[in-house]
Assembly symmetry: C2
Homo-oligomer: 462 residues x 2
């Protein structure tokens, strides 16, 4: 094995290759922390050529490669393996160009999302991808996992923002698909192979992203409804009243609202009473007066129609930030409640209520006293669930997952709306995808990575 490392170092002259025993524990796993593992070696690529050299060497020697971006993944896709080389892209960071006419950005894969967001902002443009991990996650990881986040209802997932990309194939071939045209039907649109396939078909090294005009003003409200129907009715009213201007419609069930506000003094709570549903709604646009008046009017009409039973309009940017801080306090769940098993499921709007009910009952009857907290992106059909079972030394993750994913399967939902499959969910992939779909995924994987060296064991078994 030490010969292999020596040969790797030789093949990659000038590139940092850290032997397994010297690899910092930070690189042993992503945020999922399934089985943090010391890898064979860690390579810190500086360029596409470095990535190509690594892949070419590892393909020749049948060495597994695990690609790492910002390590914020939630399903173990970037977790190290004892026999694998970690290909880390953190050094490939930087915004290479912003084209003001076209509103596009050319960016390296290792660039943190927040860095790219700020570069767009500095040119008065918007990179509309946004998620809690923005400070750490990288553009390459966002693309590989087709990241979702808070603004999908308005701008779509990462896939919708990628015009072109460069990727290194498992055999080291550099695939330049740096399209910057909005319309290009000259042959297969290859970028889609690499978006959302979690690094199993190629290593994304740079990309051309479509930016958007930055809306000048935003308005937000926290509201409560008495029923799920009323919640859906409110979403429809906001969408119809301000088409194309709804940034977010985040729903919180009362357990979730209770947990994230548990450390706030009661008199500082925007809505102190307990309601069946809470929603954080944000709209934005360029015509401040029209935006504010329309938003007011829509919410007022929703109250009149008894859809909305309580509502607080943010009176300042600071109050909007405070609403979001509450929603983002989900990151504190572990501290506030305890270790959790998390879910990210996709469901048709009309099946969400049934899902919540079945999951609540199913988990409570199997694990009396279990704490379940539901929240999600209503307009996208995306629900998150956190479950904590009290008084156990280890959370019964597998049993909890079996219960929840069986409900998802029976409701014909998706076991992963935005987080992906990684290593954590491969066993459940057939709950959401047919046999012929999985067979076609395997055909693609075998055709592009015949030696199964790139992120092996992720997404699908080959």
């Amino acid at each position: 094995m030490s010969n292999l490392l020596r040969d790797l170092r030789e093949a990659l002259s000038g590139v940092t290759v850290i032997a397994g025993e010297d690899v910092d524990q930070r690189y042993w796993s992503d945020w999922y922390r399934g089985h943090p593992t010391r890898p064979l070696a860690l390579v810190r690529a500086r360029s596409t050529d470095d990535v190509s050299a690594v892949m070419s060497f590892c393909n020749r020697h049948r060495l597994p490669v695990i690609v790492q971006g910002g390590l914020t993944g939630l399903c173990g896709g970037a977790e190290a393996e004892a026999d694998a080389v970690i290909l880390n892209l953190e050094r490939m960071s930087g915004v290479e160009a912003i084209d003001l006419d076209a509103g596009t950005m050319t960016v390296l894969a290792g660039t943190p999302l927040e860095t790219a967001q700020k570069a767009a902002e500095a040119k008065n443009l918007l990179l509309p991808l946004d998620l809690g991990a923005r400070g750490s996650c990288t553009i390459g990881g966002n693309i590989a996992t087709n990241a979702g986040g808070n603004n999908v209802i308005r701008y779509g997932m990462t896939r919708a923002m990628v015009l072109g990309l460069e990727a290194v194939l498992p055999d080291g071939t550099v695939l330049s698909n740096m399209n910057s045209l909005v319309k290009n039907n000259a042959g297969y649109d290859l970028k889609h192979l690499f978006i959302g396939s979690e690094g199993t078909l190629g290593v994304v090294t740079r990309a051309v992203l479509q930016l958007q005009p930055r809306p000048l003003f935003r308005a937000a409200a926290l509201l409560a409804t008495a029923s799920f129907d009323a919640l859906v009715g409110t979403l429809t009213a906001v969408r119809r009243g301000l088409p194309g201007s709804v940034d977010a419609f985040e729903v919180m069930w009362p357990e979730f609202y209770g947990i994230v506000t548990s450390e706030m003094p009661k008199e500082r709570l925007p809505i102190a009473q307990v309601h069946p549903f809470y929603a954080l709604v944000q709209v934005s646009g360029n015509d401040e007066a029209h935006l504010a008046a329309s938003f007011d009017e829509i919410l007022f009409a929703c109250s009149e129609r008894e859809l909305v039973t309580d509502a607080v309009l943010a009176k300042s940017e600071r109050e909007i930030e405070a609403f979001w801080a509450m929603r983002d306090a989900v990151a504190e769940f572990q501290r506030l409640v305890g270790p959790r098993t998390g879910f990210d499921v996709g469901l048709p709007l009309r099946k969400m209520e049934a899902f919540v009910e079945h999951a609540r009952v199913g988990l409570a009857s199997r694990f009396p006293g279990a704490i379940t907290a539901f929240y999600g992106h209503l307009g996208d059909g995306n629900l998150h669930l956190m479950c904590h079972v009290p008084n156990v030394t280890t959370q019964p993750k597998k049993e909890i997952e079996d219960i929840v994913y069986s409900i998802v399967r029976d409701l014909r939902g998706s076991i992963s709306a935005e987080h992906g499959i990684g290593k954590a969910r491969t066993a459940y992939l057939n709950y959401s995808r047919t046999e012929s779909e999985i067979a076609l995924m395997q055909t693609l994987k075998r055709a592009i990575d015949p030696n199964n060296i790139l992120n092996p064991g992720r997404v699908i078994a080959v």
Copy 2:
């Protein structure tokens, strides 16, 4: 060969199989009419099972299959071959379901676009795909070619509207990928393999489409500018002023405007004077007063800034229709001018002017007296060009294409923004795509269609 036909009929009991000598000439080619050819046979599938049986039989017998939708393609993708079976999907027509909550439509591949549009409209929803061939082209063909059209600037290409689909693979496997969720990251997003690959990887048989709320009011103007910069400035102003509300920004160069208005009496022309650029701009929304006032204001500001030199606002729906009729009169080019060689190129905004200039000069110097007419979708970077060379018995298509495509290549544009490659443009594919991209397309084709029986010779040579 007659044995093969007998066996095919036997394998497809109950399905209409028409022998080559009885095949109506309508099925010999699409609108491209490269080399209309009598096929071996024509099969009129009624169901996905029929399609599966045809593919399975033809795969076993290594019989080429050409798929036909509405036959409106402009690059020979659906043209028959003497040794091939035509798989026609016209009988697989119908909207199966519209889900009002999710705003989705489930539709069979052979459904004409206009039928699907009207079904959406009847439910007060919008299927935002629209193109001149709407009455004949089918949803399956729209998906296979990733059709563009008039509203791409606002709603994207067909790809952006497809949530899920069902496709039959070359070996007859039915791939059900009928996703209806906005967010679904459970494994590879396989639908993208079939969207825009022009039927070379599978036969699309049905789909789930995302519909949009139908805007209640629209406004349109025909305007003229003195320079390309002023045109771009106007586009930017309209987009900023009414973000998310711009349906179309169609630009016409003066030759084009002259041809499409040549049969109108001068006093009825909306703009009678000759200008360097004309544009048809349409916006729409739900707040009529706000829409009209904003649009007025934006156009007035553009005049004040001397971006717009002449403008006519449509005063009624009828006038809007009249503007569009002018733009759509491009279909009359052949009658008004003569046989033409047509182009559909994609270019960065800032290279459009250079393209027009180089193409005009290049064609005029090689073919004195050549008539060239440019028009296109400015916001999408998509230009069309018609060229007619007078006083020749046959249009020198190949030479014209060599001249135009070389300019596109040198400007790093796309040889096909929306029409696709088909049979007509395979020789130029490498003008817009790299060697490694074409190699990867071939890898995909070989993996999914190892016997090369499905639409062979389309898009890429294998």
